[in-house]
């Protein structure tokens, strides 16, 4: 028994010894790890740890009215590094620099600076081409990885640049519609908690909040018309050696802007080419000159001061008021109100204007939208000035009559003419067709609007000032203006704005457009010569694109009827 006890005791002892030895080894190992190699291990630990990663949302697409892409973000890879890890692999910087086409020294200095500051993130190069991003993946350098970012593309380039603006490198709105609608287009980034290994690969994902992509945005623009407008504006810049050219095309029944462009523009896809976009149609005010005359006549008709047939003597072609002389281009003699508009006689309108109360005239101009921002929603729009005063000098009242002394934008002009075309109902113009819009309102009696339309149609006849705006098969109504530019408070003698505004088809108006050519240096600077042909080219093509039926069939044969029995218009 004793023998046996002894044996058992020995066996226990051996077991105990093994256990003690085992624990002893463990303790020694722990002590070794803790004391001697802690630095290495901490580094290894930090290479494999939990990270929060942002998932970038995809920015919304901007489309034209029919869904054609105007701006789109597409995913690109950006190379980044964890400086703490990469700095311990200096032998691979050469390869990295080669693939990214950067100098090794620049990577190295940044890397050391970031590593010293204990930062965990450093961009190496952003927006890589797909070829380069593959090469970076193939290199498989510790601490270097790719992230998904988005880059904006504008398939129409300069054609829409002035309107859309552009985004910065982080794909945030920076100018134009991209800026004012940034919140809607951006979306919400998602978040991903992941465990990564030392090569930056995801080992385990702990948590994920879903990314919310940005919302798409539809504009009222028609890309086809926008292209053609820009093309014609570029052509007039070259042909007339002008500084700027602007045009706005509006769909009259809905007030939707189909095209709005200023030339010259820039290519928003090339960062080096980017400029602050200039949308002259909303950002520049000017005195409207002759373009305001139909509204003065409308006011006079509304107050019963004149009828279309009232004859006013404009001879001898000039008129002294206060210290100023009002002049016509020649002595027109006695003219009816209708002819005053057709010939754009300054003396005629001044004589009518002096019969009107200037403040009532100004408030009528405000009523038709002059001097205040429209409800278009366009970025960078300014109001202009239509003053109301207690006292007016006679000379000031005269200048008001022929369209000086107050300032408007191109947008306001096209909106007001669309109101005439729309039989006196002003439909507020818009660029975002899917959003709530202001109510249409009547600004002049239907009868007056129809009367003015008829007069404006006569302007675009061979005897009027705008015969170059005539479009075959369509009846066109419109008005030209040539105004001297106000430069540092003085009227320039050699810098003009040549303008044309009009609408077609006159019997059932669909499209209104304004064309402004800034400082033309060609043979002529008159609106009827410079701007009217641009209007004709834009509107004739746009009518064809939109399949608007012709309304002027007087001179063409219609099959199925004899030549004598033509379509009555």
């Amino acid at each position: 028994m004793n023998e046996r006890r002894h044996l058992i005791f020995n066996r226990d002892l051996v077991l105990l010894a093994f256990i003690v030895l085992g624990f002893g080894l463990l303790a020694a190992r722990a002590a070794y790890l803790q004391v001697f190699s802690s630095a290495d291990l901490q580094a290894a630990g930090s290479e494999r740890h939990v990270r929060n990663e942002a998932i970038n949302p995809n920015r919304g697409v901007i489309t034209d009215r029919s869904g054609e892409t105007l701006a789109l973000s597409t995913a690109v890879d950006s190379a980044w590094a964890d400086p703490g890890i990469l700095v311990r692999h200096p032998e691979r910087l050469d390869e990295l620099a080669g693939v990214l086409n950067l100098s090794k020294s620049s990577i190295q200095t940044n890397l050391e600076r970031y590593a010293n500051q204990d930062r965990q993130f450093m961009y190496l190069q952003r927006h890589l081409t797909s070829q380069r991003s593959e090469q970076v993946t193939d290199l498989d350098i510790p601490g270097v990885s790719l992230m998904r970012e988005y880059r904006r593309f504008y398939p129409h380039g300069p054609i829409t640049a002035g309107l859309l603006g552009f985004t910065n490198i982080d794909d945030q709105g920076f100018e134009g519609i991209e800026l004012i609608r940034d919140a809607q287009l951006t979306g919400k980034p998602g978040l991903k908690r992941v465990i990564k290994d030392r090569r930056g690969r995801t080992v385990e994902s702990l948590h994920m909040t879903r990314v919310e992509d940005g919302l798409d945005l539809r504009l009222s623009i028609d890309a086809r018309i926008q292209q053609l407008v820009y093309k014609e504006l570029l052509a007039v810049l070259t042909n007339e050696r002008a500084a700027l050219a602007t045009s706005v095309v509006v769909h009259i029944p809905t007030g939707e802007i189909l095209a709005i462009a200023t030339a010259p523009s820039f290519n928003p896809n090339l960062i080096s080419d980017r400029k602050v976009p200039r949308n002259q149609a909303v950002s520049d005010v000017f005195e409207p000159g002759s373009i305001a005359k139909p509204f003065l006549v409308a006011k006079a008709l509304m107050q019963g001061i004149v009828t279309p047939n009232t004859v006013i003597d404009t001879s001898p072609g000039y008129m002294r008021i206060g210290g100023y002389t009002v002049e016509d281009i020649r002595n027109f003699g006695p003219l009816s109100v209708e002819d005053i508009l057709m010939k754009s006689s300054n003396i005629g309108v001044t004589k009518i204007g002096l019969e009107l109360d200037p403040n009532e005239l100004m408030s009528f101009y405000q009523e038709v939208g002059f001097g205040k921002r429209t409800d278009s929603g366009l970025p960078g729009e300014i109001g202009g000035i239509v003053p109301v005063r207690e006292r007016w000098y006679t000379s000031e009242r005269a200048t008001l009559s022929y369209g000086y002394g107050f300032a408007v934008t191109a947008l306001q002009i096209v909106q007001a003419y669309a109101a005439i075309a729309n039989e006196g109902v002003l439909v507020p113009i818009v660029i975002f067709p899917d959003e709530s819009r202001a109510e249409p309102r009547r600004v002049m009696p239907q009868q007056v609007a129809v009367e003015i339309t008829r007069m404006l149609e006569r302007v675009v006849t061979p005897t009027g000032t705008s015969r170059r705006a005539q479009i075959p098969l369509y009846r066109v109504a419109g008005k030209t203006a040539t105004v001297q530019k106000l430069i540092d408070g003085e009227y320039s003698s050699d810098q003009h704005l040549s303008m044309f505004v009009g609408f077609a088809p006159a019997s059932k108006p669909e499209l209104a457009a304004v064309v402004i050519v800034d400082d033309p240096k060609g043979k002529s600077h008159y609106g009827g010569v410079v701007a009217a042909p641009v209007f004709r080219k834009i509107i004739s093509s746009a009518l064809r694109i939109l399949n608007v039926p012709p309304d002027d069939l007087e001179k063409v044969a219609v099959k199925g009827v004899s030549a004598k029995e033509k379509v009555r218009s």
């Binding site: 995809n58 398939p155 129409h156 890309a223 292209q227 075959p472 069939l553 219609v558």
Partner: protein, 98 residues
């Protein structure tokens, strides 16, 4: 008593194995989910690139230039359009001219 003890040991073992299994399954599925997300992102990227390509190639002015240059097409002018009177319109016109 003995049965209860054995049962507890078994349950404990089963639950331990289940924990390991669930954790493993979780990892596998998360990796699968990531792969699917990545696949979706890649398809999205391709779709966006195709859309850009489509937008750039289908530009109306380019198509018009191409039609002009390689097919000698031109916009119909007033001389090349034939106007047809619809039956209804002619009837209405006859009615009016009576």
């Amino acid at each position: 008593m003995q049965i209860a003890k054995n049962l507890l040991i078994c349950t404990c073992l089963i639950s331990a194995i289940a924990v390991i299994w669930v954790r493993h399954e979780n990892r596998v599925q998360i990796i699968e989910l990531h792969d699917i997300y990545e696949q979706r992102d890649n398809l999205n990227t391709e779709w966006q690139k195709l859309k850009i390509e489509l937008a750039a190639m289908s530009r109306h002015d380019q198509l018009a230039n191409w039609a002009r240059a390689s097919h000698s097409m031109f916009p119909a002018n007033e001389h090349s359009v034939i106007f047809l009177r619809s039956q209804v319109a002619s009837a209405a016109d006859r009615e009016l001219s009576r």
